[in-house]
């Protein structure tokens, strides 16, 4: 049974349809990368999955159970199964690195502080931020903030991790430190949805690549199919342009 199944999903921004008939299934441990031109709906799909933009049609099934985004209790369950890392990190500016990582497990999940802090320190050490526990976000570089954001998402112990263009706001020399962290998670078998423009990285880590355009899924396949033998003309066009650069 797929861990996550998206069936005929549709979402609007006001009267404007931004996602239409999205169908996708993700097995446990799979790494699904969403690629496509800007405005194709990749980040929007992640926002919809997190319930930050509720879908107006379609279904999302987690472990076979269909969940309703308009039901508060079910939305809570969806959000406890998934965690998102935002392009702009979205760390809480009023909290230290450690508080950013521990606040939700302690205040939302009600876990014991000591246990949560120990685990948070472990995670922060894993992403190379163990020496910055008491720093505030505005004292960190973009790459450091993004690694804290990844630790924060992991502290929630999600079944699925959504990464929304996590390197897009970073200086080129900081990109690798974040990608290394994601590689580490991939090696551990974490199910991930990755929106990225780092095509080399996408090709390297993905088990499935989804090419999107104009709010539709155009083509789904393994990285080799999408990058070397795309079936759809639009995919071919996009990949051709990207690989030329």
């Amino acid at each position: 049974m797929p861990q996550l199944e998206i069936v005929d999903l549709k979402a609007n921004y006001g009267a404007h349809t931004v996602l239409e008939r999205i169908n996708l299934s993700v097995e446990k441990g799979e790494i699904v990368s969403l690629i496509g031109p800007s405005g194709s709906g990749k980040s929007t799909l992640l926002r919809v999955l997190m319930g930050l933009l509720p879908p107006i049609e379609g279904q999302v099934r987690i472990d076979g159970e269909s969940l309703d985004y308009n039901d508060r209790e079910q939305l809570r369950r969806i959000r406890s199964q998934m965690a998102i890392v935002f392009q702009q990190y979205n760390l809480f500016q009023n909290m230290t690195v450690l508080d950013n990582v521990t606040v939700a497990p302690i205040k939302v999940k009600g876990r014991p502080r000591k246990q949560v802090e120990d685990y948070a320190i472990q995670l922060l050490e894993k992403v190379g931020m163990g020496a910055k526990l008491q720093a505030y976000p505005d004292q960190l570089s973009g790459g450091q903030q993004q690694r804290v954001a990844i630790a924060r998402a992991l502290a929630l112990q999600p079944g699925i991790l959504l990464l929304d263009e996590v390197t897009a706001a970073l200086d080129p020399e900081l990109v690798n430190e974040v990608l290394d962290t994601v590689r580490l998670l991939a090696a551990e078998g974490m199910t991930m949805f990755i929106v990225s423009h780092e095509m080399g990285f996408v090709r390297e880590v993905s088990s499935k690549v989804v090419f999107m355009a104009d709010g539709h899924v155009v083509e789904i396949g393994g990285p080799r199919q999408i990058f070397d033998e795309p079936r759809e003309a639009r995919t071919r066009d996009f990949v051709g342009k990207i690989l030329r650069h």
Partner: protein
């Protein structure tokens, strides 16, 4: 004029006059302090209600918006008269002080609610998104994430408003509440020179508002520290 003031001094600072001023100062202080505390508490509540976008909160949201937009646009004196005549119409036998107190609370609540709303909205939308994605409730989001970041935007105008507001309580004298401005007028009518009387009133208003402004600065430092910027 200085001779006249020096001559009046012993009579002006008689025991009963001092008591009269102390009582008036107490009334101004009570109107200001209760107005500030109630205004701050209810203002926060109304701002939080106004920003809550959940469909179930719609009636409360509309009610708080109407309240805020209405009372921010009515002059204080008109609010005072309105409250006075409404209670008179209801045959409620309220002390003038209570009428003035209700009026100052209404005005303070409306103004502070608007200051708080703009402060809360100044916190970047992505902080709300991050909190929502981590299953924070609306109140947790406000308490743990938004309000701590909004203090630095909220506090300076709130304390600026408080200082203006202390001065506005002088309008309560229009319905016969014996506060500082009323006391000044009374002493002036008793024949004391205006310079002496209103100089004293000025000093007393300053005594009330200066510590408040200092307290505001202290809170700003405590609640909205700047780090490496």
């Amino acid at each position: 004029m200085l001779d006249q003031i020096l001559q009046e001094l012993p009579r002006f600072f008689s025991y009963y006059n001092l008591l009269f001023f102390a009582k008036a100062l107490g009334v101004t202080f009570a109107l200001s302090a209760i107005g500030c505390v109630v205004g701050f508490s209810l203002g926060f509540l109304l701002a939080a209600v106004r920003l809550d976008s959940r469909p179930a909160g719609r009636p409360l949201r509309i009610a708080s918006t109407v309240f805020i937009e209405l009372f921010r646009r009515i002059p204080f004196l008109v609010t005072l008269m309105l409250v006075f005549f409404i209670f008179q119409g209801l045959n409620a036998d309220l002390a003038m002080f209570t009428v003035a107190l209700i009026s100052v609370c209404l005005i303070a609540t409306a103004f502070i609610a608007e200051i708080v709303r703009s402060g809360l909205e100044s916190v970047h939308r992505n902080q709300w998104d991050a909190a929502a994605a981590m299953n924070f409730t609306y109140l947790q989001t406000l308490r743990l994430v938004i309000i701590p970041q909004a203090w630095k935007i909220i506090l300076p105008p709130v304390f600026g408003f408080f200082v203006l507001f202390i001065k506005d309580t002088a309008l309560a004298s229009q319905i016969g509440v014996v506060e500082l401005a009323f006391a000044g007028k009374t002493m002036n009518n008793k024949g004391f020179s205006a310079a002496l009387v209103y100089g004293t009133v000025l000093a007393l208003y300053f005594m009330l508002s200066y510590p408040l402004a200092r307290f505001g600065k202290h809170l700003e430092k405590k609640l909205a520290p700047t780090r490496n910027r």
